[in-house]
Amino acid sequence: MKAINRRQAFALGGGFVMLTLMPMAADAEVTGDAAKWIEKFTGGKQPVKGKISLDLPEIAENGNTVPLSINVESPMTADSYVKDVMIIADGNPNAGVATLSFTPLSGKAEAAIRIRLATTQNVIAVAKMSDGSLFTEQKTVKVTIGGCGG
């Protein structure tokens, strides 16, 4: 094996930095359009991770119709229920996907829809409870064929 020259070593190092930085960026920082949508929904409050189970395929062959189902843990009584759930796709030209509004009559905070994803990206759900607390969950979906048309 050939010894690594200076240029290769630099490239390797760069790759390493990217690798270590990427998961952090994916989990904590939501930027651009998606952040605006979330802020509008939460009013600037920081949602806590948990309570939501977000079900999406890991790899979506066709970005035109990606099944999404969501379930938020809640007793769904008149005193304590899930009010709204916002779904956001941070890599779409328009990050908003849908806002689901539940009532105690829903019985369960559970819903399924089919969404369009332009490219491989994170799908984020933010839930607002009746007491004002906020929860979030996100998932990365790999998209083979984008679904927004050119």
Partner: protein, 108 residues
């Protein structure tokens, strides 16, 4: 368009039971981002709101964006405390509303 929406729910339920409702309505859900052969943008035309109520009380609703697939499929749950009628409404960008009704009875 004009196709009747398809709605699937049980005919009857026990008191207090939580049932699942599946709905599907035919609609192009044009995102407003596609271009036609001449390179002109095809104007946006989507269903931007769906609402379901039971005996006049809201059960579930959602605001939809262009990122919803064509022929939007929406599945959700409802708790049945009494017999009655579900009313479903899909609101189009152009203001037209597609509506549907389904009845449910209590199990004897």
């Amino acid at each position: 368009m004009a196709d009747k929406p398809r709605i699937k729910l049980p005919k009857e339920a026990a008191k207090g039971e939580v049932i699942q409702i599946k709905t599907l309505v035919s609609h192009v859900m044009e995102s407003g981002q596609r271009k036609d052969a001449q390179g002109k943008t095809i104007p946006r035309k989507i269903i931007n709101k769906f609402a379901c109520e039971f005996n006049g009380k809201p059960v579930f609703s959602c605001a939809l964006e262009p990122a919803i697939s064509a022929n939007p499929y929406i599945q959700f749950d409802a708790r049945i405390d009494e017999a009655g009628t579900f009313k479903f409404a899909w609101t189009d960008d152009d203001g037209s509303v597609i509506t549907a009704e389904e009845k449910i009875a209590l199990k004897a």
